[in-house]
């Protein structure tokens, strides 16, 4: 299909899923994902935010949480600046039965058409002091980002201390429309094959 000559925006469709999360330390987690994107981006289809099922980790040493949680979204934009990012928050329940954050992770949606498997590390902010950590344990008030969307921006991260916790495996299948008509060349990158092979 020939691209429309006077296309005023390009479309990015990403469908994929959050396949699994490796969080060997924690049991019973679920995920919330949301998108962070620039001013010129507009979500035309798909959920702004998704909440997954509650998962219990696998009984083996991997401590794997399989989610197979679909992420499907279509964006429209005029400008690659502010390419959408997927921010995933892993939440779980602690021993008191309260809901606490188990980890955050963030990744850009793929910029090339095609299929990509990504492994993204999860991290969680650390308490600023030992006392607050103890208290956090007691009161199940673990430090958490005021807004997970902060992770989509580069600002203000320097004040936080985080710890890596596990990994998340995502796969995306991307298709685009009109990028060429607007003068953007988004070709499959070199890591395409390697990533797909992973």
């Amino acid at each position: 299909m020939a691209a429309e000559a006077g296309a005023s925006s390009f479309m990015l469709n990403v469908c994929g899923q959050i396949e699994s999360v490796e969080l060997p330390h924690y049991d019973y987690i679920f995920l919330i994902y949301q998108f962070v994107h620039g001013d010129d981006w507009e979500r035309v289809l798909g959920l702004e935010e998704g909440v997954s099922q509650l998962s219990s980790k696998s009984a083996d040493v991997r401590g794997l949480h399989a989610f197979a949680f679909p992420v499907e979204v279509t964006f429209k934009s005029t400008n690659p600046h502010g390419w959408p990012q997927l921010v995933v928050t892993a939440l779980g329940t602690d021993i008191w039965g309260n809901q606490v954050v188990r980890g955050y992770s963030v990744c850009h949606l793929p910029m090339q058409p095609g299929r990509v498997t990504k492994r993204v590390p999860l991290f969680a902010p650390q308490s600023s002091s030992l006392m607050s950590k103890l208290q956090g344990l007691m009161q199940s008030e673990h430090p958490l980002y005021t807004d997970p969307k902060i992770l989509g921006q580069g600002q203000g991260r320097q004040v936080t201390r985080v710890r890596s916790l596990g990994q998340m495996t995502l796969n995306f299948s991307t298709s685009m429309k009109n990028t060429r008509a607007l003068g953007y060349q988004l070709l499959p990158g070199e890591n395409f094959g390697a990533a797909a092979a992973m």
């Binding site: 005023s8 010129d40 005029t78 308490s127 208290q135 009161q139 430090p143 005021t146 600002q155 004040v159």
Partner: protein
């Protein structure tokens, strides 16, 4: 099967061998398992081949092979036959000799092992028996086989027995030993097992090995190996099968390399080598591999990569001494010495039976040989089997003689001219002057950039010294380069100039010769273009050049000098310290009476700035006159005013003079010469390729200008590319008898590379010179002069490869050895080595082009130089332009880019774009977004009040600049976030424990009411329907109508054009208790509420409704209620104030006109009658309101913004102070929360934002006390002059006057861009200069004035107070403390309140500021009561004293009041304009009905207004009274409503707004049909009073009069 090996090795009788033995057996077991596998496979394979067609083919091949061996035998003749016989014998002998050898070996065994081995010996005997049986069988079989292939056994025998191995070093003893071993082992072979399964003929076996289709996998190769061993064994005639079914293979590390030679029969048994299974040496360095394990015995020669062979050759050559004995691994052919057929032990040719040949004379096809000429194996031109040979094209253009015996004077002159011109043309094409000019410009540009960079670095605070040093170093380098380039340019220009002069001289010579001779023999003509240059311009350029040069030199010298000075300063300091030290020592020594000497060291010489005087003169001389420092003219350039000359030589444009026109004396000689030229000589060129004549050209004769035109392309076919191509110029002199030929010159054409075709090459001009010194020829020649002549000339020719019709270049491709592929491949780099074609991009930073430039300059690379166009390629930033995908101008012109930048800087809000994303193309951008919003000119006052306008514009520009800076800072600050902003976390633990404990101890009450602080605010969304909820409770102190009627006031609230009013109340202190909800919606979707700049206006009117009888009807039946509103007072509250403070709650001071006609007079009159006027000072009316937004909106988040501090030297102090304020802030917040949650103490919530640092106009944080002048600032003295009444001296009055003056400075909020977040604090001077400022500027100025006025007073203290007020919210006031009396000044209105009174609009105080420091209120919730707390204590106020440091000096500048009073003359015009505008406005508002104007009494009104302004501080002044009286007399009887509005000048629009809000125009709007003209007249009088610094007070007296 390893059992027999053990005794055998034991037979070696060496105890120390045991270890190696173990090793071997270990290796062997490995092989054993392998062998088992092989055997199994073999058994599978062998039956499988049966009956196949393959078998037939295999047999055929075998028979062929056998034939070969037969031939071999035949060729070998007797020897071969003998060997064959021997072989036959051997088979017999084998069985015969076997037992004795075994017995031999047994006997060598040590006795002690014998006993152990008895069991094995038994077994061996059994084996021997079996072997013997096998022998029998074999013999029978051999007889059968002999029928079909008689020679087979012989050949096989030969191959076995005559094999000479490389095992030269093996001793006879060893050989014998191994032979014995072999016999033993062969006996064990269970060949029978195989034979039982299938009668395997020899052909089949061999065919199996020689199978053409050979699978390369390991198993099959191994199987082949196994079969090989079987086959060999079979040939040897040894068959055997061990009980365990093992098949042996040969296992050895040796490779058979030698050619077979025939050995003597006697020695052969000793010399033969038979590989053994037992004596396997361990794997060592010398023999790193086990060939059997590697599968080398697979019946086929292994392929060894050429690279490996080369490596081996290399190793053997290099380490010849080390591998002495291995030298003969490589044969003469450079290949490994290896048998052609591994199945044959000798090199053999195929066996051919003659009877099979049809033609005996013909060689059988197998033996036919192919002839190949010898060639070097490493020849790059490997591929010679081509149909078309390589073809070279030699293109010969022409030959131009530069010297020839037949030259006339003119010819030689022309020749010289030509040569000069060639050089000139080349030089002109290169255009070096232009190149250097560009280069100078480029360097200068770069220098400028560097200078800027250095300056920027020096200015910036966090400069990097290394970067700076690097920049400076680069500047030095660039400067020196610049100087060099300038010199070069000078020289290049001089050279050009001299060339030109020479050329013109040469031309002149030619002309002279022609003139003298009277005719011309050459056809050359000269074209000289002259461009006239302006002399003055040239002079100017030259001067500029000198100046620039000098300036650069000076800058360089300056830098040098500074550096020297620095070094000198260090040195000097060292010297001083040394001297002091010395002096001290000397003093001590002197005191102790020792001899001393003076300090002898000389102080370091102070460096002198290099004098540029001399250099300047030199430079001047150099540039002007081209003189060097010795006064010699070295580089003379075109002098100023000299025309620019371009010289062109035109060939063939001038016909030589025909013979008949030549003057008589020369005619004959010339005719002779011409004849000679035409007839005497002919020339040809001989082409030699590598000294081989490949073709002469045609003979040509000289043309009139001594040129030979060949224009021929000769084709040269070559097998190998020639190393050079030579052209010989041959001259044939046609004599009378014979023709003489001689070579008069030769040139060599450059060899073309393999990728260049002829067309790609340019004609190269090759020079030749020939000087005949051949005396013999000279003697024989008729004309000795000619014989000894000099020939000189230029050959134009070129040479390249030919292209065939398909475009293939018929050139040999150079082959190179690819180590990875181990073969020769076409040279992939052929194209890479090609010289760069200059049509491509040129960048002098590319090393390639630097070289080209250089070569071009030096004329080394003629080809390149011809093409180089050096101009315009001088850049110093590598690929700068190439990386700019568009220019800066394009970027600036691109509106999309502009819009994106603006959006990034938050200048383009979503409000403007309506939330739409940025369009992808510039054409889709709304022009309005990116263009600067034009300020609509204030139509009325535009012309007249231009000065005011200008000031305002100035201010706005300045504010815009500041705003930009603040925005930048904000954008920067967006990157910084505090921890709390990012992370939510459990707060400090002890507080929570405390609360826990407290809750334990607190009394448990079943009902514990908890006060909700506030409902959770909703975030603002554009769709939110907002209501402005205005709760008007009551009013106070409204004026009493004079006619004693009851005042019927109501309040009208107006916002964004919507109005709603309360019901009418009664009395001067009315109580409405009304709630008004004004709905509104943000104008556009993306608008943020803080940017709504509209004001909510609350106006109080007196309801003067009356019933008017309708036209002619009965009063009761049809009457009209005419509602007339009489303006009383009003107030405007900016929306942002409501939004930011979330609410406005409290008593609002309304602004009421100075007097209202018909109102309040009685009160004042009564007061005056009482004589107590001073006590009963009139209060302005007040309104108690509560305004909030519905729904409750969240407050805009406060940005914690820090700017650079202005107090650089006290950063630590600043930081600490901020820290302590922040701590205090936290504490206050906590206390406030506690208070608020306490239902008993309903504390109001105010913003608490104590500040010790504010942002100045330079966008730097300044300690706030720096705004306060120590002794205050003197107000302009004119303020207190009261004309005839003299000067006002009363301090209180003075204060009032000053406050009035300050309040008249127009109020312009600078907070609209960052509402409530950032306040820019101007100094008082800026404030008055720009005539604009908001609360804090007013307050600062007033505080400074008041400080000055009260400085003499004993106990009056003036403070600037930051706090909250109604309705402004956070604001700045001035507080005056006189003893216990505390007053609050609102600087923007000029009102003064008692601090404690309920009238005071200041409701809380954050901090007090004076010139000594800041007092921060620890208890802001105490509201104004906080002022009662002593300032010195620590419990109530936190005192931050101003540090005694220069950096904290007061930043205020003295104000110059007297500069511009130009406006004085324009006051009248301003008045007129405003009046006109007001009238127009009223008329337009009353468009339905005609508006009548009453113009009388304007003078009286003006008098009154003037008096009001002049004596505003004293309402009971005599002047006012008299003016009022006159005014009353004039209008008192007929006035409906009348009041003067007083305001400062902001803009005409705002004035009109105020007028509109009074609703004056609604009076007399009711007109019935009877009297179409209303009975109302209007009066409008404007009076403008001018104060110093163009502060204007505008009075508008509005009146509605009964007609």
């Amino acid at each position: 099967m390893s059992e027999p090996a053990a005794p055998d090795s034991a037979g070696a009788s060496a105890e120390d061998l045991h270890e190696s033995e173990r090793l071997r057996s270990a290796v062997k077991t490995k092989h054993d398992t392998k062998k088992k596998r092989l055997r199994k496979r073999l058994q599978e394979t062998l039956p499988a081949t049966e009956g196949d067609a393959d078998m037939q083919a295999a047999q055929a091949r075998v028979s062929q092979r056998l034939r070969l061996s037969q031939t071999d035998v035949r060729d070998d003749g007797g020897d071969g036959a003998g060997a064959g016989a021997n072989a036959d014998g051997e088979t017999v002998a084998d069985s015969a000799t076997a037992p004795p050898t075994e017995a031999d070996s047994k006997s060598t065994k040590p006795p002690k092992q014998k006993s152990k081995m008895t069991a094995k010996a038994m077994r061996r005997q059994k084996l021997e028996e079996e072997q013997r049986q096998a022998e029998e069988r074999r013999r029978l079989e051999a007889e059968e086989a002999a029928v079909s292939a008689a020679a087979t056994v012989g050949g096989g025998g030969l191959s076995r027995e005559d094999r000479l191995t490389r095992f030269d070093t093996a001793t006879v003893q060893e050989l014998r030993q191994s032979k014995a071993d072999r016999t033993v082992k062969l006996a064990k072979l269970s060949w029978d097992a195989l034979r039982e399964k299938k009668e395997l003929t020899e052909e089949e076996q061999v065919g199996f090995f020689a199978n053409a289709v050979w699978e390369e996998d390991e198993d099959s190769a191994a199987a082949a190996a196994a079969a090989d061993s079987g086959g060999t064994d079979r040939v040897d005639g040894d068959t055997g099968a061990a009980e365990d079914g093992d098949i042996l293979v040969f296992e050895t590390e040796k490779v058979y390399l030698h050619r077979a030679i025939v050995q003597e029969e006697a020695d052969e048994s000793q010399l033969y080598f038979y590989p053994s299974t037992d004596a396997q040496p361990p794997v060592t360095l010398d023999s790193p591999c086990d060939p059997a394990a590697e599968g080398l015995y697979v019946g086929r020669r292994p392929r060894v990569g050429e690279g490996n062979i080369l490596r081996l050759q290399n190793i053997l050559t290099i380490k010849a001494d080390l591998y002495e004995e291995k030298k003969d691994w490589i044969g003469e052919d450079g290949q490994l010495r290896i048998l052609p057929d591994p199945l044959r032990d000798v090199p053999m040719r195929p066996l051919i039976f003659e009877e099979e040949l049809e033609d005996p004379t013909q060689q059988p096809p197998e033996l036919q040989r192919e002839y190949r000429s010898a060639r070097r194996w490493d020849s790059p031109f490997a591929n010679l089997e081509r149909e078309t040979p390589w073809q070279l094209e030699v293109d010969i253009g022409s030959v131009q003689f530069l010297a020839h015996p037949l030259f006339t004077l003119e010819h030689s002159a022309v020749s010289r001219l030509r040569q000069l011109y060639a050089v000139y043309a080349k030089f002109e094409k290169l255009n070096f002057p232009a190149y250097f000019r560009d280069r100078v410009a480029a360097i200068r540009r770069e220098l400028g950039k560097l200078d800027q960079e250095v300056a920027r670095q020096e200015r910036s605070q966090q400069r990097n010294q290394r970067v700076l040093a690097d920049c400076r170093a680069r500047i030095d380098v660039f400067r020196s380069e610049l100087e060099t380039t300038r010199q070069s340019r000078l020289r290049a220009e001089a050279e050009h100039y001299s060339r030109l002069i020479e050329l013109i001289e040469a031309w002149r010579e030619v002309r002279t010769i022609r003139q003298e001779a009277g005719f011309s023999v050459t056809d050359i003509r000269c074209d000289i273009e002259e461009t006239v240059q302006s002399k003055s311009q040239d002079e100017q350029d030259r001067r500029a050049e000198v100046a620039e040069w000098l300036e650069e030199r000076r800058a360089a010298a300056q830098t040098r000098y500074e550096r020297q000075m620095e070094a000198y300063a260090v040195e000097r300091r060292d010297f001083e310290t040394r001297r002091e030290e010395y002096e001290r020592v000397r003093l001590r020594m002197e005191q102790s009476g020792l001899e001393t000497a003076d300090f002898e060291e000389q102080p370091p010489v102070e460096p002198q700035m290099e004098s540029l005087e001399e250099f300047g003169q030199q430079l001047d001389r150099l540039v002007r006159l081209g003189e060097d420092e010795h006064g010699q003219v070295t580089c003379l350039r075109r002098q100023p005013g000299e025309p620019l000359v371009r010289f062109r030589l035109l060939e063939n444009s001038n016909v030589p003079t025909p013979l008949d026109q030549i003057p008589a004396p020369h005619r004959q000689a010339e005719e002779l010469r011409r004849n000679k030229m035409e007839s005497l000589f002919t020339y040809c060129l001989r082409i030699y390729a590598d000294d081989k004549l490949v073709g002469p050209t045609d003979f040509v004769t000289l043309s009139s200008n001594f040129m030979l035109h060949f224009n021929r392309v000769s084709l040269v076919e070559v097998v190998q590319p020639p190393t050079k191509i030579r052209l010989d110029l041959v001259q044939c002199q046609r004599g009378r008898i014979s023709t003489q030929t001689k070579v008069i010159g030769h040139v060599t054409l450059p060899k073309p590379d393999s990728q260049t075709t002829r067309v790609q090459v340019n004609m190269s001009e090759l020079r030749f010179t020939y000087k005949s010194d051949d005396r013999a020829t000279a003697a024989g020649d008729a004309n000795p002069a000619e014989a000894a002549a000099v020939f000189e000339g230029v050959v134009r020719a070129r040479c390249g490869w030919r292209c065939d019709s398909d475009g293939n270049i018929l050139a040999p491709a150079l082959k190179v050895y690819d180590p990875q592929l181990e073969m020769y491949i076409e040279n992939p780099d052929a194209s890479r080595d090609k010289p760069v074609r200059l049509t491509e991009l040129k960048d002098p930073n590319d090393p390639w082009y630097v070289r080209l430039n250089y070569h071009g300059y030096l004329g080394e690379d003629a080809d390149a130089a011809a093409k180089v166009d050096l101009a315009g390629y001088c850049r110093f930033n590598f690929f700068e332009e190439e990386f700019d995908f568009c220019g800066r101008e394009d970027l600036e012109a691109d509106s999309r880019f502009k819009a994106i930048v603006m959006r990034d800087r938050a200048q383009l809000t979503t409000e403007v774009t309506k939330g739409a994303p940025m369009p992808p193309y510039a054409s889709m951008i709304n022009r309005k977004w990116v263009e600067d919003p034009k300020r609509e000119p204030d139509s009325v006052v535009k012309a007249r009040v231009s000065k005011l306008e200008k000031m305002r514009l100035n201010y706005e520009r300045k504010m815009a600049h500041v705003r930009e800076q603040v925005l930048d800072a904000f954008n920067l600050a967006k990157n910084y976030r505090s921890y709390d902003e990012v992370i939510k976390e459990a707060s400090a633990v002890f507080v929570n424990i405390f609360t826990l404990i407290r809750s334990l101890f607190s009394r448990k009450r079943p009902l514990k009411p908890i006060r909700e602080v506030s409902s959770s605010p909703t975030p603002f969304t554009p769709v939110t329907q907002l209501n402005l909820s205005i709760n008007i409770q009551n009013g106070a102190d409204f004026p009493q109508p004079n006619d004693k009627s009851v005042l019927k006031p109501f309040v009208e609230a107006t916002f964004q054009g919507n109005s709603l009013r309360t019901a009418t109340a009664r009395g001067t202190n009315p109580d409405w208790s009304a709630s008004i909800e004004l709905p509104f919606r943000p104008t556009s979707a993306g608008q943020k509420p803080e940017t709504i700049s509209d004001e909510l206006v609350l106006t109080v009117f007196n309801d003067m409704s009356y019933t008017q009888t309708a036209e002619g009807g009965q009063q009761d039946l049809s009457s009209v209620i005419v509602r007339e509103k009489h303006f009383l007072a009003s107030i405007a509250i900016p929306f942002s104030a409501i939004y930011i403070n979330e609410k406005v709650k409290g008593r609002l001071q309304l602004r009421m006109p100075e007097f209202l006609m018909g109102y309040g007079a009685s009160a004042s009159e009564a007061a005056s009658a009482d004589g107590q006027q001073s006590k009963k000072r009139r209060h302005s009316p007040a309104l108690k309101v509560f305004i909030s937004l519905q729904p409750h909106l969240a407050r805009p988040t406060l940005l914690q913004q820090t700017f650079d501090t202005a107090h650089d030297s006290a950063r630590q102090w600043v930081h600490n102070t901020k820290q302590s304020i922040a701590i205090l802030n936290e504490q206050v917040k906590k206390t406030r929360l506690e208070l608020q949650s306490d239902p008993n103490k309903a504390a109001d919530e105010f913003l608490y934002n104590p500040r010790a640092f504010v942002v100045s106009m330079e966008v730097k944080e300044v300690f706030v006390s720096c705004y306060m002048v120590k002794g205050g600032m003197p107000p302009p003295p004119e303020l207190f002059q009261r004309g005839s009444q003299g000067e006002v001296t009363d301090l209180e009055l003075k204060k009032a006057i000053v406050a009035r003056y300050v309040s008249l400075v127009p109020f312009v909020s600078d907070a609209s861009a960052f509402p409530g977040l950032v306040d820019i604090w101007n100094t008082c001077e800026e404030f008055l200069d720009y005539q604009a400022g908001d609360e804090e500027e007013h307050a600062v100025l007033l505080a400074n004035y008041l400080t000055h006025l009260t400085s003499g007073g004993a106990d009056t203290q003036i403070y600037l107070a930051l706090g909250n007020a109604v309705p402004e919210g956070a604001t700045a006031y001035v507080i005056e403390m006189t003893g216990n009396e505390k007053f609050v000044w609102n600087a923007s209105t000029g009102f003064r309140y008692k601090a404690q009174s309920d009238r005071s609009t200041l409701v809380s105080i954050d901090c007090l500021i004076n010139s000594d420091g800041v007092y921060i209120n620890r208890k802001p919730y105490e509201e104004a009561r906080a002022l009662n707390n002593p300032l010195d204590g620590k419990t109530h106020w936190l005192h931050i004293p101003k540090p005694e440091s220069a950096t904290f000096d007061c930043i205020q500048q003295p104000i110059d009041y007297g500069t511009d009073a130009v406006l004085a003359s324009e006051i009248g015009n301003i008045e007129y304009d405003i009046e006109l505008a007001v009238r127009k406005e009223i008329e337009s508002l009353r468009a339905r009905v005609p508006t009548l104007w009453y113009n009388g009494g304007a003078k009286d009104v003006r008098e009154l207004l003037k008096a009001l302004e002049t004596y505003h501080y004293d309402p009971n002044n005599q002047a006012i009274a008299t003016a009022k009286e006159a005014h009353n007399r004039m209008f008192g009887s007929k006035v409906i409503v009348g009041y003067p509005l007083q305001m400062s000048y902001k803009s005409t629009k705002e004035i009109l707004n105020d007028v509109r809000n009074t609703k004056l125009h609604e009076i007399g709007m009711y007109v019935d049909s009877k009297n179409t003209v209303p009975k109302v007249q209007f009066s409008c009088v404007v009076y403008v009073h001018q104060y110093p610094k163009n502060v204007l007070s505008i009075w508008i007296n509005l009146m509605a009069l009964k007609k």
